[in-house]
């Protein structure tokens, strides 16, 4: 039978289904996260408070976890699956395995999510209002940690899935360069494997056993350092898929070609080797870590600006190429020749523009001593709503308008609503983020339900606190409206019938292609080895020193909030499960050997 279109779903119907599931999980998290976002915006600014301030932190935990764990990661496993299957032009090796990791991620995040949301009711003693950083001795319910572990293991298996595809493909195409999208997926996943070792250690060795009552205490500085070992590179885990979209999709929708495939590879290699040995820049103001280690982390961090700055050039040059092919001229006049009416293009372009603005606050955050000015103030929140909250989130929403038809086989419900949506996000974020940055400079703290104090007031040299609050609230409302438009489009598209008039599943060609890239760039083993060596350099001494000072399990401290009854039950269940799993997996084999 002949199909009219060459959309992704036509070539890979089974994979399209997995990607759809991942996208819908992602959008569900985005919807929840958005609701919590506007609640906390209105609460903090004092415009509308209908929850108890003590519950604010449950809202904030949900906002953080649902948006930066579920929304971003579910979306990116979707586009990574697309990238690998499309660029290798082969389906996944084993569909059951693919559904397996998706299922594990879904179960994991459900456990964590339920643990968080249970904090709203007194009906259970379960809660995990520990924010997405879960710093000990704040303690969440074991289900929260367990869920995170399963979720992360799910992503590990997803990576295995993509590596399997690549190995199989390499067997058949021994002399070919790794196609760029696959190259990007593989380097990102290698980075992710190294990065998640930190959080896995923190949870499995310390926090989970501690929350189950198996160990008495933990060393707060140690678990915190392990968290940031993971916490910085995780931002690149969100960002690299967005970069991938800017490299492989944006040039195409601009009407041009990717300016340089080799440089794109260099950029992803730099991310692989530099993302992890920088986490201590989140701990510039932590006691117990020597200044020298902080300085090293800063140097690495500053050099990590390089791949982003290079990306800026390559991506803009690719857009310009499109504009010139479309007849654009002049130093700046070419900008007018870009397809500004296309939401996919405009969303990504605005996301990139906001990311450029984020470069400004990012360089300040990266600086070691200037961190005294901004650490944990609202400035930081302003910063990451530009990065993950826009560069990533808006890119993901914009490319959804391209992907949704590809994986559903249905035409987009409304292009103009889509265009309005991305522009509205840009405007809303401009208000919200700008005011957050300014408020932070006055010392307004982040993560605070009522940043209005009895004993003093924040003083603004220009404008007033009231004006900043108003801008934040306005921005938050515009962002929420933008989300409403986004979901209208997702649902509207879902209700459309199948269309056989969809664009083909293609990504951008290159001006300077892989043949110009030195072979060594594709040597993933080499880059992984270098990455590991750098991590060992950056972290061995700080970790040894922390353990030496505070002990592996730290001082005597009470967990906070103190342990809960259902913990014992769960401890039992986990033990049972673990033993069961061991028995079914390794024991038969082991017994065989013994016999």
């Amino acid at each position: 039978m002949m199909t009219m279109s060459n959309a992704y779903i036509d070539d890979f119907p089974a994979e399209a289904k997995v990607i759809r599931a991942a996208f819908y999980s992602s959008f569900f998290a985005l919807a929840l996260g958005g609701v919590f976002g506007v609640i906390q915006t209105l609460h903090r600014t004092g415009y509308y408070r209908f929850i108890d301030s003590a519950d604010y932190y449950t809202v904030l935990t949900a906002h953080g976890v649902f948006l930066v764990i579920s929304f971003t990661i579910f979306f990116l496993v979707g586009i990574f699956t697309w990238a690998v299957t499309t660029s290798l032009d082969r389906g996944v090796e084993d569909l059951r395995f693919t559904w397996g990791w998706y299922g594990l991620m879904a179960i994991g995040i459900t456990l964590s999510g339920v643990a968080i949301l249970a904090g709203f009711t007194d009906a259970t003693d379960i809660s995990a209002s520990v924010l997405f950083t879960f710093y000990a001795p704040l303690q969440g319910h074991p289900m929260f940690y367990l869920g995170l572990v399963l979720f992360v293991v799910g992503t590990w298996l997803a990576g295995v899935d993509w590596f399997r595809s690549w190995w199989a493909w390499k067997g058949e195409n021994p002399d070919e360069r790794i196609p760029l999208p696959t190259f990007m997926v593989l380097t990102t996943m290698l980075m992710w494997y190294i990065a998640t070792l930190g959080v896995a250690a923190a949870i499995l060795l310390f926090l989970l056993p501690w929350s189950l009552g198996w160990i008495e205490t933990v060393n707060p500085l140690l678990t915190r350092t392990l968290f940031w070992f993971f916490g910085h590179p995780v931002v690149y885990f969100w960002l690299m898929p967005a970069y991938m979209m800017w490299y492989v999709l944006l040039p195409k929708v601009s009407g041009g070609k990717l300016f340089s495939d080799p440089l794109a590879r260099v950029v992803f290699v730099l991310f692989l080797i530099l993302s992890v040995p920088t986490g201590i820049h989140h701990q510039y103001l932590d006691p117990g870590i020597a200044e020298g280690f902080k300085f090293i982390a800063m140097t690495n961090t500053m050099f990590l600006l390089l791949p982003s700055l290079l990306t800026a050039f390559t991506v803009v040059a690719s857009m310009e190429h499109g504009a010139r092919q479309r007849g654009g001229t002049g130093y700046f006049g070419w900008l007018k020749a870009l397809p500004w009416r296309d939401p996919v293009f405009t969303g990504m372009a605005l996301a990139g523009l906001m990311f450029a603005a984020a470069g400004f606050s990012g360089m300040v955050n990266a600086g070691m001593n200037i961190n005294y000015l901004v650490h944990n103030t609202f400035w930081v929140v302003g910063h990451f709503h530009l990065t993950v909250g826009t560069a990533v989130a808006l890119t993901f929403m914009a490319v959804t308008y391209w992907f949704l038809p590809q994986v559903t086989g249905k035409a987009l419900w409304s292009r103009s609503v889509a265009l309005g949506q991305v522009v509205l996000w840009f405007v809303g974020m401009t208000f919200m983020s700008n005011a957050m940055h300014r408020a932070g400079l006055l010392g307004v703290p982040r993560r605070t339900a009522e940043p209005q104090y009895d004993g003093f007031e924040f003083e603004a040299a220009v404008g007033s606190i009231g004006e900043l609050q108003a801008q934040i609230a306005l921005g938050g409302i515009l962002l929420t409206l933008s989300l409403v438009l986004f979901f209208a489009n997702v649902i509207g598209t879902g209700l459309n019938g199948r269309s056989d008039d969809l664009p083909a599943n293609e990504y951008a060609g290159t001006l300077s292609g892989p043949e110009d890239a030195p072979l060594v760039l594709d040597n993933l083993k080499l880059w992984t080895a270098i990455a590991i060596v750098l991590v060992i350099f950056a972290y061995t001494f700080p970790l040894l020193s922390i353990v030496d000072r505070g002990g592996l399990f730290g001082p005597e401290l009470n967990p906070f909030p103190v342990s809960i009854e259902s913990v014992t039950l769960l401890a039992f269940a986990v033990e049972h499960l673990a033993v069961g799993a061991l028995e079914s997996l390794s024991l038969p084999g082991l017994l065989e050997v013994i016999r």
Binding site: A317, M368, G443, P555
Partner: protein, 264 residues
């Protein structure tokens, strides 16, 4: 690999930016002496701060002519001491630790900002040139009452600053004709000598005595009051030393309780 000339230009410009950033921060550290919170302090047991020499009694101490140390404890959901009071024109080193979870100690509108981690002691040396009143906030989530965690830092005019502590011990009830004693202990926690006057006011009459208290010492002044002059009834008294004041009531009675009678 062929890289376009413009992209090479940008690569170099980007490196210049990066090196420029690092150079600026290094200049701040080395040239201006801005220090980071570090690992210079030994760890402490958060559960045993009550026995810790520095943190059992959170306070400000003078350690040199214009040098002070502030021992600050953060806990859910307060800072102590509160307010923290230091003189202008001084150099203050803050030692901050936590009794329970992770907090921060952040002086709003300044660059005084540190994480406070249980088991660790954060130190920050700061010069206060001008008097002023600052709010202190905790900017790390520490539990359901986090938003109520605040304190005050008062930098007072140098000549209005002292670390004098006044404690008065006075008779409550005396028999007419007996003498009532009021012991006034003036503690001077500064290093320099304190010259001041202790005044007692009782029933509108004022007595004064000049005292000199050496640095770190306590001097006790005793006032004796002849109750015959006061007469029976309640007499309010007030002791004043500089800005400090203590007051109470002395009751002069005809005869004291029976038990006392039995003794005689």
């Amino acid at each position: 690999m062929n890289i376009h000339t413009y992209e090479k230009v940008w690569l170099i410009a980007a490196l210049v930016l990066i090196v420029g950033f690092i150079a600026t921060v290094t200049y701040g550290s080395v040239g201006l002496g801005i220090a980071m919170i570090d690992d210079s302090e030994e760890t402490v047991e958060p559960g045993e701060l009550g026995e810790d020499e520095r943190f059992a009694d959170p306070r400000v101490e003078q350690v040199g002519e214009n040098e002070y140390e502030a021992y600050v404890v953060a806990q859910t959901f307060m800072f102590s001491p509160d307010p923290i009071e230091v003189p202008a024109g001084s150099e203050v080193t803050f030692y901050v630790t936590s009794r329970d979870v992770i907090h921060s100690f952040s002086v709003a509108g300044t660059n005084i900002n540190t994480m406070v981690i249980p088991g660790e002691v954060a130190t920050m040396t700061v010069e206060f040139d001008e008097p002023g009143e600052y709010g202190v906030v905790c900017n790390e989530y520490c539990g359901s009452g986090h938003h109520n965690m605040e304190g005050q830092l008062h930098v007072v005019e140098e000549d209005e600053f002292d670390m004098t502590e006044l404690s008065v011990e006075a008779d409550d009830e005396v028999e007419t004709g007996d003498e009532a004693t009021i012991d006034v202990a003036v503690e001077n926690r500064m290093l320099e000598e304190l010259e001041t006057t202790v005044t007692l006011e009782i029933d509108g009459e004022t007595f004064g005595e000049d005292v000199t208290v050496a640095g770190g010492e306590t001097e006790t002044t005793t006032f004796t009051v002849d109750t015959a002059d006061l007469g029976e009834g309640d007499h309010d008294w007030t002791v004043t030393v500089d800005d400090y004041e203590d007051s109470g009531t002395l009751t002069v009675v005809d005869e004291l309780e029976e038990e006392d009678d039995d003794d005689e």
